[in-house]
Symmetry: C2
Subunit: 460 residues, 2 copies
């Protein structure tokens, strides 16, 4: 049996797996969120801070030596002392994406000393949009273990879709505001302005978006560095900003207005996810001059955000062969002063479209072992089409595997107990325990029953 | 379009992918085998050597500075000089599993300087057996890229199943003879004798088995080292030999009669696959005293086989967390004098039954990058049931990804051209080229058509 339990008056959720034959129950990290949102303890935490005149952002609190309820919650969740949580946030090595307008949030932390996190992308497009379907995708992704969700909606109903997702979401929600800004100018990048972008950010901030991808590192001078690539610029945000810079021959307005953006982010405690608009789109383009020039700029932008007490994580690739993965982490940690790294995969080969959850789970596990704090999932439909429900699940499961394999390799204090419990159940032929401890109990059970359906085969 | 082409009078097969817009065709390594076996050039090669009084094994030939037709064939296949092939075989760093009674073989090489190879296990069991079905599984596995196949049949019709598979197989066939020997004593390990085992080996040798797993390193003194493990001894061959040693309190007869075995293997040019009967069965047991004690013995056995001119590869784990993977390769290479390493995965976590093709593809890619020459696949049914056709394909594809990712990381001279061709096709929206270059064109095409079915979307 698996049951959801809440620990402490902070109501920290866990999935508790009861085991047979006197084996102690195992508590697993749980991202599935409550079935209702009647209790919103975080509403009071935020209000109390405001009433007491305490700082707004978790980073500002950490610097003031305040252990917030969010930090205490996370400490219980991670099985680590609250002081470690506070100290890592203060140092900028970890972020707690938690907009003050997202009371539904069950706080979580992204940083290399903590459990490796995974993000699932969802969102409507111009072709398909259905608000309820996107909320259901968020629930489905978090049921299987997504730690954050990014709403990458384009097309109509962006605002309403996002509102519905945030109000139903116990995990941090991330967005890429330039996508909505582009809708407002009917898809023409050249019509984008700082003002349109700023207003979009504020609109989303008011809704409670916890972190935002901002492609402020795509500088005019960087764009020519991508000219000789096999696959040019593949990041959508990167392409938009590169087109804007080139057409106007002006510096990226996200870069020139970056300090104003920091002021806005500080008011809501929105976390920067500094986008890697020049990330490589193929094995051939990995670790090239364009990618690393932008990374250097992201390091500068990290320091500036910290001046404002704003939390920062930094995005990374993409497509990288295995022998070039470690360099990405080492350089990001050096140039960005140990801010958390958040990578998309990376895919370790380009030859397997339809299996890029696997080509990238290999790279994701490795890059997380080297210190990446969060992994953006890739589904089997990557490069081919829009993920459906099954694809979302396949992507989340592959990435939970990558993240947990890295937790084991890094020696997170709570990681190996899960493996050991399952290994022991397997060796003792406690089939039900093995299924219940599985990342995907349903599929494990059904695969077993396909060849050995009889109950005795499960208890023998 | 993808077409099979044959190169040189040696008839070296490739899959040639024609590309649009003036892009040069790409030739891919091809394991699918001929549709008929009317031409058996290798029959003449073996006969000519015998007539000329040349040595029998590829290792003996390499030492005598003879470049065999098998080596020339492999040189073309790998895109490397024939002298490199010969020299690597002479040094024991590579093996060419090629029984003189397997004329259907398209020769291939297993060694860290060459393309990483993958093995697919098939075989009947006491529960399900159907000879035609196993032949079809072999064809199916090699169609998707299996470089060798192991027939792990138990139950009735072992001999007939194996005969049918070998006669239809252009890839090397491996077996674990102790499985058939056990059938001959009705499943009671204590009734096993050297004589029964020897006769089984000769029976299989006459049929043309190219390599055999022999658990000669499970010594009586090693067995107690596994007593305190979470998951004891999980290798079937290891369990059989451990039971035999403990019950009789005698040394493993495979170890005591090993030199006789070498004499037999030398007559047929059978390659040893020295089994790791004490491999870990869980994350908790990785890299322990039992595992490494056996590995030390396998190093001794490697040297002895080489005295007889017999080719050797060494099997490895199993279940290993990422941070302990490199030690496995380094120690194996040191203790076994650089003989090729052949590992089962390893799985990098135990928490995901039903997804062990993924948990292990991560470990497989890494261990191959560190120098493992061949990877034994793991299917989604591992630990749960017997793989069906879909599971075989899923396992092979996951392992082709792992192997190719390692080829890229190691810089095999032919590896990256494949990725580059596909990356370029992707960037230029040449959808048909992208599909045809894919590891699994059918699935890539169908995923694309699910969301964007119209032809313009593929050519736009």
């Amino acid at each position: 049996m698996r049951n959801k339990v809440y620990v402490s008056e902070l109501r920290v959720p866990f999935a508790e797996v009861e085991l047979a034959d006197g084996n102690a129950p195992v508590r697993l990290y749980d991202t599935s969120g409550p079935t209702d949102f009647e209790q919103l303890p975080r509403k009071d935490w935020v209000a109390a801070r405001a009433a007491a005149g305490l700082p707004v952002t978790q980073l500002q609190c950490a610097r003031a030596d305040i252990v917030t309820p969010e930090m205490e919650f996370i400490a219980i969740r991670e099985g680590l002392p609250a002081e470690v949580v506070r100290a890592e946030v203060e140092a900028g090595r970890a972020v707690i994406p938690a907009n003050i307008h997202h009371p539904e949030l069950e706080p979580m932390i992204i940083g290399s000393r903590f459990l490796v996190k995974i993000n699932a992308n969802i969102g409507t497009s111009a072709v398909t949009f259905d608000v309820a379907e996107e909320v259901e995708k968020m629930r489905w992704a978090t049921r299987w273990g997504a730690d954050t969700v990014m709403d990458l909606s384009t097309g109509p109903s962006i605002h309403a879709t996002r509102e519905a997702i945030i109000r139903a979401s116990a995990v941090p929600l991330g967005t890429v505001p330039i996508y909505q800004a582009l809708e407002k100018v009917k898809g023409d990048p050249l019509k984008l302005t700082w003002e349109i972008f700023r207003d979009t950010v504020i609109e989303q901030a008011e809704q409670g978006v916890d972190y935002m991808t901002v492609h402020a590192g795509v500088l005019l001078a960087h764009v020519p560095l991508a000219a000789d690539r096999v696959t040019g610029i593949v990041s959508r945000g990167g392409s938009i900003m590169a087109a804007w810079c080139l057409a106007r021959h002006e510096e990226n307005f996200l870069y020139t207005h970056y300090r104003e953006l920091c002021e806005i982010f500080a008011r809501y405690d929105i976390t920067f996810s500094l986008g890697d608009g020049l990330r490589p789109g193929s094995i051939a383009d990995a670790n090239d001059a364009a990618q690393f020039a932008e990374l250097r700029t992201l390091g500068e932008l990290t320091s500036i955000a910290w001046e404002y007490g704003v939390q920062v994580m930094v995005e990374g690739p993409g497509h990288v062969p295995m022998h070039k993965i470690k360099e990405n982490v080492d350089l990001q940690q050096e140039l960005c002063h140990s801010a958390p790294f958040y990578t998309l995969g990376p895919l370790t080969t380009d030859i397997a479209p339809a299996y890029d959850h696997i080509t990238s789970a290999i790279g994701a596990a490795m890059i997380a072992m080297y210190g990446t704090a969060m992994l953006c999932y890739v589904t089997p439909k990557e490069h081919l089409g829009l993920p459906n429900r099954d694809d979302v699940k396949a992507g989340v499961i592959a990435y939970k595997i990558a993240a947990h394999a890295a937790d084991l390799a890094k020696g997170h204090p709570t990681a190996q107990a899960w493996d050991d419990a399952l290994s022991k159940a397997r060796f003792e032929f406690r089939w039900q325990d093995q299924f219940n401890l599985s990342l995907d109990p349903e599929t494990a059970r059904s695969y077993h029953d396909e060849t050995l359906p009889a109950e005795p085969a499960k208890t023998a």
